[in-house]
Point group: C2
Chain length 250, copies 2
């Protein structure tokens, strides 16, 4: 039952160092066409993809994403955007009042989900061709500046980047939460003790994973990592930004 | 360069009629493990998957999703949820103040994107095994009732369902927006005339597509469809619902 496609997906790990070999036009097309083939809510296609090749723009994006060199140095850099700009134009073209709908939280969710489904197909396409990828949420550190670089109009929010290229490093597959913690049957897990026990079990696994990789220098748990990360109030400007772009208003 | 995985993705079309053959435990596991292998923002894993097998629950969900029979009749039914419930527990466990962060628009976006990336891997896994899938956004018609069926706690929002199974119908691949309309290079398309011209070109293609499929009974354009759909103010309760569940508040 296991096949090449599932094998590719299960082998996923983020790649942060790429060989200096740009993707061909044909490779970019397969990736984007795969992205476009993903499901889209009611055919709405509420996203856009910007491929960045200009070295100066890549350098600037790398800096904005928190000095991540692999944003500039890769085979190709994609930015996935939630996009209801074309739908606003459609409103005028079709003489249809679309304002309330495209400004709704529902359609904000639709645009995010559409963009993410497309992106994951792009990731799988790239990996199936022997490349590595890394999602770059870091562009959300400073979207006002990112939108200047990419010249995105109103009703468009850049969501994340994706660095793609031929891997120049070996990385491990990182263990995920226990199957039974992510996957529930018929209803959400109601037994809090069992649920928290799964987190403890996972902590042991993660702690061992870091320990082995670092010869004992690191042994943090997953809940420890998360507790630390979530106490940092980062990107708290997002609500204002998103609403300023005309999303998630009603 | 084209390979089996890309071929699978390019052949995607929604399937809305399934054979009466439930998925095996092993098949469900491959699908969920593929989902879990997708990238996750800063390792946060902010989603859950609920597999629904109980016939009464499936019937109820089918009704809530607008009487879509394939929600009840399929090989397996998954519901993908944005989930920061475990992260709230982590806050207590690690004595860490996570409230502002998990209530932020940024983390709402992260949870949606995480869930969608996982879902798309699940879709590709199922299709790679010869099954068909259909995303069910219809569960968002009535999330207050859906959450009663699935008993989801605070900090969890069911986003969409996914019906999976062996296809019992032939469906066509639906043409997507022109490549150059979705994919921009270095910056968003600044030439409005070219951009709108692409929509006109696409309209002709879609109109022809419907015409051929229906022997001339239908010839609507894409912008016509969208204009109509977006003039319907549906699911306008979403903002209140999502905020009531503790997301997207600040």
């Amino acid at each position: 039952m296991m096949n090449q496609t599932i094998e590719t997906m299960l082998a996923h790990h983020s790649v942060r160092k790429f060989k200096d070999k740009p993707l061909s036009r044909e490779q970019i097309q397969w990736i984007v066409k795969s992205a476009q083939a993903a499901s889209t809510s009611s055919y709405i296609q509420a996203y856009s993809i910007i491929g960045v090749t200009d070295p100066e723009k890549k350098r600037k994006l790398a800096e904005l994403a928190g000095n991540q060199t692999y944003v500039a140095e890769n085979g190709h850099f994609f930015v996935f955007c939630a996009d209801l700009y074309r739908h606003e134009l459609i409103g005028k073209k079709e003489n249809s009042d679309v304002k309330d709908t495209i400004e709704s939280t529902e359609k904000f969710m639709v645009a995010l989900i559409d963009a993410a489904l497309a992106a994951q197909n792009a990731a799988v396409a790239a990996e199936s061709m022997g490349m590595g990828i890394c999602y770059i949420g870091g562009i959300r550190n400073n979207l006002p500046e990112v939108q200047k670089v990419l010249k995105t109009p109103q009703r468009v929010v850049p969501l994340f980047g994706m660095a793609v290229g031929y891997p120049d490093q070996d990385t491990d597959v990182k263990p995920r939460l226990p199957f039974e913690h992510i996957y529930h049957e018929n209803e959400y897990e109601q037994d809090l003790e069992a649920y928290e026990g799964q987190l403890d079990e996972y902590n042991k696994e993660i702690s061992k994973y870091y320990n082995q990789r670092t010869n004992g220098a690191r042994s943090d748990t997953w809940t420890g990592q998360m507790g630390k990360m979530l106490s940092n109030k980062t990107r708290m400007y997002m609500k204002d930004f998103v609403q300023g772009k005309g999303f998630d208003l009603k």
